[in-house]
Structure formats: structure tokens, C-alpha cells
């Protein structure tokens, strides 16, 4: 997309250990302090050893951000060999900051500056040299580079200093001083020596930041939601990209009286969650593809025995072990249809970091209200991207109020699975007086006793599905986005791809292609009526998602007869708005 001069994508690239990631962290914090929005998504090396490369990637803008941007406006090379491999993502008029005095062992033909294409701009700065002045080694050249960036992009230096202080607050005063010194050296050198002729420019603006903002990743948001929702038990098994949720909760949850248990595998994690849910306590696990496979049988038990429980699946490239550090949206099938038998369960998908928070919170309510497992589909991109969040966003609830029904005491014999109009049976939990019952994964009658009768099976199957209908009725968010009325192009998308689609919609509307979106956060059960209303407004409907087979499109297509087109990608990288827009324009023109 054509970005404004104050909407800039920055990458800092170096070897592992060069501090690319922590420099970007400081940059984000400084920008947020000045009232900018940021979206940060670092590239992770695939292996532990990672063969060295490490790239911090952030976008800073005055406007709310929906994507991390397809092209890099400004690339900082802390290590030329690695930086060369990032050049392919630069925008046409991109800016490269490189070390003008590379170390001795540096090979001529691997100087990044030699590879930039016509139209791009390169500024050589003696990063190592300045670092050596500050800390007697090249270790601080990441911070020197921040000084260069601040001077070049016209960002206020004082906010960087605050951010640096915060970053190193646990370290001795001298470390802080050295780093601030490194920053200043880069800043001053740039002011004095660089003849700026690029267009990237934040114009020294600082926006009255009464926003109560915080920088958070999707994993952090989900963990925070657990804490705020009074989670009692987190049971989990490490797996990328979900592990961080457990690591945060391992620290925080015990301080709030809850427990964290690292189980021997995902089956056990799911078992602990279902056990705690049966006992009336909020419980959750987070996993990814291979783990959700293993949980399938336990989730089915929770469906059959109607036990509240919440499962986060942070998707990664699949199938099997797949691409552990790449993003994809290909677990819709297993989330919605991965159980044997007819096994209905709500599937939610946040579209942004704040929604990781909001939907995790609401998931606990849903689980208790509808007495069901709830699956939340995050993905690598959402889990690991950082956004600046207005804390007020976390208090909104546009989804609905979901209140669990408790069975009145002493209502003997208690019918745990009483058939009602809503499918929901008033619930008693262990510990209550005299509301004895045993739940089971076998088909059962209203009391909970095993029963394989024909009429009973039909009745109970209908009851379990009825709960989903009730949920669809109760769910208030319509998922509709963009202008009203007739649309040339109606987009449907979900999860982390929605940001790019929103961006594409506004770009298309700018070009007079009337576009709008339907972005359900409740992926399944489907709000068929909203989909129908939306589809009637659209000349074309295009489903955008990150998988090969159009998993969600297939699900939607069953509900309406209008044929949908698919924009599906398995790029191992988030979809970009540019790609969507180009695809549409090619078609429409």
C-alpha cells in the first residue's frame, strides 16, 4: 500500500546476539510514548541455532495499524551478510542504513550497500566505530542505530532515552549510561554528517498521549485475559507458538491464587482442564497443531459430558510438525470437525491483539454458559506480534453477555442433562449438597446414566446442537465491516488475516471499488442470517484466509447458495493488503 511519510516499516537485521530484537523493542516503546501506533512482528530463526539471522520488524504510524506492512521502508543492517537476504522485501524508495566501516574480515562482495537497487537510498554510518567509542566494543551498535533512526526519521530523542532506561532498568547505572551514550553518538553523528534526501519523516511530532497505552503481543493478551477472568488452572505442554502463554502464567497465576501445571503431554493437559472444568473452576490450555490433534478425544469428552473448558490453538504451518515458526490458518477444520461423531463446539478467532484478550475472556463465559469446550484459533502471527493497546479497548464487550445457569439446590432427583428449550441444563457442580451425578462420554439420559436407546440418542444429540443455536442467537457481534449498501466486492475473512483485508477494503474504496467485509469472530456455529444478509449485498464474495484448501470458505459455502471466490495463501507469511488489492484490481479492470 502507499504509505504516508509518517507510516514507516522498519527492519533491524543482524546476527543472533546483535540485539536487533531488543533495539526494535526500544524503538516501539519510544514510538508508543510519543503517541504513535506500532505493530511489531519479528522473524524467528527456525532452528535453535538459527544459523545466525535475527530480524526485528516493526511498523510505526500515526494511524491505527492493521498489518505489519508488506515492504520495508527502512532497513538497518547490523550484519551485511544477513541484511542482503532482506533486501528483497524493501520498498522501491526504501532506505538502507549500513555500516560504513565494516570489520576487517568483511568480504567486499558481501557488502549490503552493493546490492541495493536503483531508487533506494543508502546511508553509511560507522556503527561499529561509534559503538566502540561508547562501550569499547561493537556490542552497542544496535543502540547507535537507534540514534541514527531517531535523527533520520525526525523522532524526538528524549523518548528513546526514557525507553532505553526502562529496557535496562534491571541493569547497573553504568549500563544505562553507556547505552544512552551510544544512542547519542548515533543521533549526533547523523545530524552532523548525513545529508537526508529520503522522504521518511515523522516531523518531530508528538501526539498528546493521554491514551493509556501498553505494548502487548497476542500471547501476552491471552495470558492477561486468563488472569483477569479468574483462571484457576492452566495446564499445558510447551509448543511453539503457544508456549509463551504458559510461561507468563507460570509467573503470574500463582500470585493470584491459581495454579499452573506443566503436564507430561497434551492429552494430560486437556484432561486436567476438563477435570478442573467439571469441578467448577475456570481452566485453560494453549497449544498448536500437533497438540490439538492429541486433544481431540478429550475435547470430545467435554462435548459429550458438557464440561466447560477452553482451548487455545495458536496455529502454525501444517500439517504435522509442519512449519513451527511460520503462520497459517489451517486448523479450522480440526477445530470445528476434528472430533469423531457429531461433535459441536464453538470456535472463536480473534483478529487482533486486543481481541486475543477479549475473546479469551469471553470464551470462559461461553464455556460456562453453554457447558461446552470452546476453541480459540490464534496463530503464530497473532501470538507473536506486538501492538500498542489502548487499555480501554480491553473493557469493551461487543459480543454479548453470557450468564451460566446454576441448578437450584435440593431439586431431587437432579437431572444434569435436563432437556430444555435452549439445550442448556441448569448446572450443579461437585461440592453442592446432594446434587449427585456422574457424567460420562457415553451417550446418556437426562440423569447422566448410560443409555443407548434410539429416541434418547436423537434427543441428546439434538440437545447438544441446540446449545449452539442458542449461542448463535445470543451472540451480538455481527462481524460486518465497511460501508453499507451494495458492494462490488464483499470480503469474508477471519483471524489474523482480517487486518490485511480491512486495509485492502479501505484502499479499494479509495479507488471507488465499493468493498466491505464480514469478519465473524464466532467462526462456528455460523451466524447464517448475518452471512445471508451480507451475501445479498455483494456482487462478488471473496473469502480470504491462510490455508490451501479454503477451509472456512468450504464451511460457509454450505450455508448459502451464492458461490464464493477464494483468496487463499500458504505463504508462511501473513497475507498483505497489497496482494489482495492487486488481485482484485487485475480482475475488476
Amino acid at each position: 500500500m502507499i504509505q504516508a511519510a509518517d507510516d514507516i516499516v522498519i527492519k533491524i537485521c543482524g546476527s543472533a546476539g546483535d540485539g536487533s530484537i531488543s533495539a526494535v523493542e526500544i524503538l516501539n516503546r519510544a514510538a508508543a510514548l510519543m503517541g504513535y501506533h506500532i505493530m511489531n512482528f519479528d522473524a524467528y530463526p527456525a532452528e535453535i541455532r538459527g544459523f545466525g539471522k535475527s530480524v526485528g520488524h516493526t511498523r510505526i504510524s500515526r494511524s491505527v495499524l492493521l498489518t505489519t506492512g508488506k515492504y520495508t521502508d527502512c532497513l538497518v543492517a547490523l550484519d551485511d551478510v544477513h541484511a542482503i537476504t532482506e533486501l528483497s522485501t524493501m520498498s522501491k524508495r526504501g532506505v538502507l542504513i549500513y555500516d560504513s566501516k565494516p570489520p576487517q574480515y568483511h568480504q567486499e562482495d558481501q557488502a549490503v550497500a552493493g546490492f541495493i537497487e536503483p531508487g533506494m537510498i543508502g546511508y553509511g554510518i560507522p556503527l561499529r566505530e561509534l559503538s566502540t567509542i561508547a562501550v569499547r566494543s561493537s556490542r552497542s551498535r544496535n543502540i547507535v542505530a537507534l540514534g541514527v533512526l531517531a535523527a533520520l526519521l525526525h523522532l524526538q530523542a528524549e523518548y528513546f532515552e526514557t525507553a532505553i532506561r526502562k529496557r535496562f532498568s534491571a541493569k547497573p547505572e553504568t549500563v544505562i549510561d553507556n547505552n544512552i551514550n551510544a544512542f547519542r553518538l548515533g543521533f549526533d553523528y547523523t545530524l552532523q554528517n548525513v545529508n537526508k534526501y529520503d522522504e521518511l519523516d515523522f516531523q518531530h511530532h508528538v501526539y498528546s498521549s493521554n491514551r493509556d497505552s501498553i505494548i502487548m503481543s497476542g500471547n501476552e493478551a491471552a495470558a492477561r485475559a486468563c488472569l483477569d477472568a479468574d483462571l484457576r488452572l492452566y495446564a499445558g505442554y510447551p509448543i511453539t507458538p503457544a508456549t509463551r502463554i504458559m510461561e507468563i502464567l507460570a509467573k503470574e497465576l500463582p500470585l493470584k491464587g491459581g495454579f499452573v501445571v506443566q503436564t507430561e503431554d497434551e492429552i494430560s493437559a486437556a484432561g486436567h482442564v476438563v477435570g478442573a472444568g467439571f469441578a467448577g473452576a475456570r481452566s485453560l490450555t494453549a497449544t498448536s497443531g500437533p497438540g490439538i490433534c492429541l486433544m481431540s478425544e478429550m475435547i470430545n469428552l467435554a462435548v459429550m459430558a458438557e464440561i466447560p473448558s477452553v482451548f487455545i490453538d495458536s496455529q502454525r504451518g501444517g500439517p504435522s510438525t509442519g512449519l513451527p515458526t511460520k503462520t497459517e490458518q489451517s486448523d479450522f477444520n480440526i477445530a470445528a470437525f476434528g472430533g469423531s461423531g457429531d461433535s459441536p463446539r464453538p470456535v472463536l478467532a480473534p483478529t487482533s491483539v486486543p481481541e486475543c484478550y477479549l475473546l479469551t475472556r469471553i470464551a470462559f463465559d461461553l464455556a460456562e454458559c453453554y457447558q461446552t469446550p470452546v476453541i480459540i484459533l490464534m496463530d503464530f502471527f497473532l501470538s507473536n506480534r506486538f501492538e500498542d493497546i489502548d487499555l480501554n479497548q480491553l473493557n469493551s464487550n461487543v459480543f454479548g453477555r453470557f450468564t451460566p445457569q446454576t441448578a437450584p439446590l435440593k431439586d431431587q432427583p437432579y437431572l444434569r442433562f435436563e432437556v430444555t428449550d435452549t439445550g442448556i441444563s441448569p448446572r450443579a457442580i461437585p461440592g453442592m449438597e446432594n446434587m449427585f451425578h456422574t457424567v460420562t462420554g457415553l451417550e446418556h439420559d437426562e440423569r447422566g446414566f448410560p443409555n443407548y436407546g434410539k429416541a434418547n440418542h436423537l434427543k441428546m444429540t439434538a440437545k447438544r446442537h441446540k446449545k449452539m443455536e442458542t449461542l448463535v442467537r445470543d451472540w451480538q457481534e455481527t462481524g460486518t465491516f465497511g460501508p453499507e449498501g451494495q458492494l462490488d466486492v464483499g470480503f469474508i475473512s477471519w483471524g489474523s488475516s482480517v487486518g490485511a483485508v480491512m486495509e485492502a477494503i479501505s484502499l479499494l474504496n479509495d479507488q471507488n471499488i465499493h468493498s466491505g467485509g464480514f469478519f465473524p469472530r464466532l467462526l462456528s456455529p455460523l451466524q447464517t442470517s448475518h452471512l445471508e444478509v451480507f451475501s445479498r449485498r455483494c456482487k462478488r464474495i471473496i473469502v480470504v484466509e491462510m490455508n490451501y484448501t479454503g477451509q472456512y470458505a468450504n464451511y460457509l459455502q454450505v450455508a448459502i447458495s451464492k458461490r464464493m471466490e477464494r483468496f487463499t495463501r500458504v505463504d508462511a507469511e501473513p497475507i498483505s493488503s497489497e496482494d489482495i488489492v492487486n488481485w482484485i484490481i487485475k480482475d475488476e479492470s
Binding site: 484457576r232 488452572l233 495446564a235 500463582p254 500470585l255 491464587g257 495454579f259 501445571v261 503436564t263 507430561e264 503431554d265 492429552i267 494430560s268 493437559a269 486437556a270 484432561g271 486436567h272 482442564v273 476438563v274 477435570g275 478442573a276 472444568g277 467439571f278 469441578a279 467448577g280 473452576a281 481452566s283 478425544e297 478429550m298 470430545n300 469428552l301 459430558a305 461437585p430 461440592g431 453442592m432 449438597e433 446432594n434 449427585f436 451425578h437 456422574t438 457424567v439 460420562t440 462420554g441 457415553l442 439420559d445 440423569r447 446414566f449 448410560p450 443409555n451 443407548y452 436407546g453 434410539k454 429416541a455 434418547n456
Partner: protein
């Protein structure tokens, strides 16, 4: 008309009673721990003896039914929760321990029993036992060991003797059986005991100790499957081979317990018990941010 005879109404659990108990049994008070459901087990199954022993233990300990939760896996043994007056979760095959642990973790005041067969607990669920033991979570796990897959009608289990003929080992079982007591000890269980379904009174005593033990209690009950095993664990063969634990056995001595577990005898009672911190105690120190090793 004919609808009234539909099979929905012929679910025996719904309509049956426990009238078949003698007045004496009813007077004993153990009926406070029995649901009204009729057990689904074959007449003569060892599980009746275990049920009797356990109901008596619950009665003797005055366990509060409201706080009693029984979790089971799948199998004939797995049906147990339906026959108890309390709360129950008849889970999935092999997963009684994770589920029971989850319950206990969030409701430490509950008396949580986990029940499962030998296939359930040592076969499909065998991966959970070492870790529940490591956590020393305060639940009582009762393994109904009949050395056979009962519910699926007579296949070999992890404790079926080498060479035994079963439906899946028509030429004799080619695998060496596991010794559940020994592996429980090797995992570091803080309470390990065993008993025989033919001696419900002895079981009662063991169950009482197990329930009272603070930490994970592992109780292996050898029990005849009268329908699918006529060769190995039969009342006749087993009643006489049980021994009393030697008088001088020190329950805190792991090496001795391991020796008893391997000497070829069956010992009735508690082989090992130690009093390290149970899971909730350790967690308590975490919350207080004090060192957990104290």
C-alpha cells in the same frame, strides 16, 4: 402402544433398585455410599468385593458425599462411579489420572478417587502414572488389576502373564508382564499398597490408609475376571497365595519395598509410605514465593 416398549425405557440403570442387598448390609451404613444403580458387572466379578471394601472405607472415614468425586477411565472397572453416591466422572480410556488431578488441583477440599483397569491404567494410560506420582497430588488411585481387558471381552493386558492364551494372543502372550507395584515404587510414589478383591475387609483397611495419606496413593487390587480369565487370577488360585507383609517391614524403606515387590509373593497391605510434601503444599510455597525445597 408399541412405543412404550421402546428400548429407551429398558435402560436397567434407570429403573433398577438396590433391593437385592440384605437388611444387614443396609443397616451397616455403607448404603450411604452406594447409588441406586445396579452394577453392570458379571455375577462373581471381583469388582463387587472391591466396591464393598471401598464403601466400607468411605463409611468408616465418614467421607462427606458432597465432596466425594470419583473419576474413572473406560472398562468394566470404569463403570464404578455410577455405583457410588457422590459425584462422578466416567471419562475416557486411560485418562482418569489427568482428569482427577485437574479436579483435585482446583478443589483441594475434595476426596478424589481415581479408578481404572489394568489396560486403562498401565496400557493406554500408562504414560500418566509416573507424572501424577511425581506431582504427589493428593488423590487415591485404585488400579483394578484383573490382568485382562474385560469390557472388550478378553484380550491381553499389560499384566497378563507371559504365555497366557487370550483372544489376541491365541498362541500365548508374547510379552513380559509389568509389575505395577514395582513401577509405582520406581516412579517414587509416596504410598504404594496392594490387596485382593477376595478380601474386602483387608481392602477396607488399605483404602482407609490410602485416602488418609497426604499425597498420591497407589493401590493395586488384584481381582478375578470370572468371565474371561479362567487360568490366571481365579479366586481358587489366588486366595491362598497371599501373604502378610513381614512384621519387621519398614514402610519407609524403599529398597525393602522393592525387594518385596519382586520376590514373587503377593503381599496384602502397605508396602511403602513416605511423607514428603504433597502437590498443594509445594504450590503453597510457590505462592508465598518462598523456596519450595524447604
Amino acid at each position: 402402544m408399541t412405543n412404550q416398549r421402546s428400548d429407551d425405557n429398558n435402560n436397567p440403570l434407570l429403573n433398577s433398585g438396590i433391593e437385592y442387598f440384605s437388611d444387614e448390609v443396609k443397616r451397616s451404613g455403607i448404603m450411604n455410599y452406594r447409588s441406586t444403580a445396579l452394577p453392570t458387572w458379571c455375577p462373581g466379578c471381583g469388582y463387587y468385593g472391591i466396591t464393598h471394601g471401598l464403601a466400607n472405607a468411605l463409611k468408616n472415614l465418614h467421607v462427606n458425599n458432597n465432596n466425594l468425586v470419583i473419576v474413572s477411565g473406560i472398562g468394566c472397572a470404569g463403570r464404578y462411579p455410577f455405583f457410588v453416591k457422590g459425584y462422578g466422572l466416567h471419562g475416557i480410556h486411560g485418562r482418569a489420572l489427568p482428569i482427577a488431578s485437574g479436579i483435585k488441583m482446583v478443589r483441594p477440599e475434595f476426596t478424589v478417587l481415581a479408578i481404572g483397569g489394568d489396560g486403562d491404567g498401565l496400557g493406554i494410560g500408562g504414560g500418566h502414572l509416573p507424572h501424577a506420582i511425581r506431582r504427589n497430588i493428593d488423590i487415591t488411585y485404585i488400579l483394578f488389576d484383573n490382568a485382562i481387558y474385560g469390557l472388550t471381552k478378553g484380550q491381553a493386558s499389560p499384566t497378563t502373564p507371559f504365555g497366557q492364551y487370550t483372544k489376541t494372543t491365541p498362541y500365548g502372550n508374547p510379552e513380559k508382564p509389568l509389575n505395577p507395584i514395582l513401577i509405582g515404587l520406581a516412579y517414587g510414589a509416596s504410598f504404594v499398597a496392594q490387596g485382593f478383591a477376595g478380601f474386602p475387609q483387608d481392602l477396607t483397611i488399605v483404602f482407609q490408609e490410602a485416602i488418609q495419606h497426604k499425597g498420591f496413593s497407589f493401590v493395586v487390587v488384584t481381582t478375578p475376571c470370572v468371565t474371561f480369565d479362567h487360568a490366571n487370577i481365579t479366586y481358587q488360585r489366588f486366595r491362598n497365595i497371599w501373604k502378610k507383609i513381614p512384621e519387621d517391614h519398614d514402610k519407609q524403606n524403599l529398597a525393602n519395598a522393592m525387594a518385596l515387590a519382586q520376590d514373587g509373593n503377593y503381599y496384602n497391605g502397605i508396602l511403602f509410605q513416605d511423607h514428603r510434601n504433597a502437590w498443594h503444599d509445594v504450590q503453597q510455597s510457590i505462592r508465598k514465593n518462598t523456596s519450595i525445597t524447604k
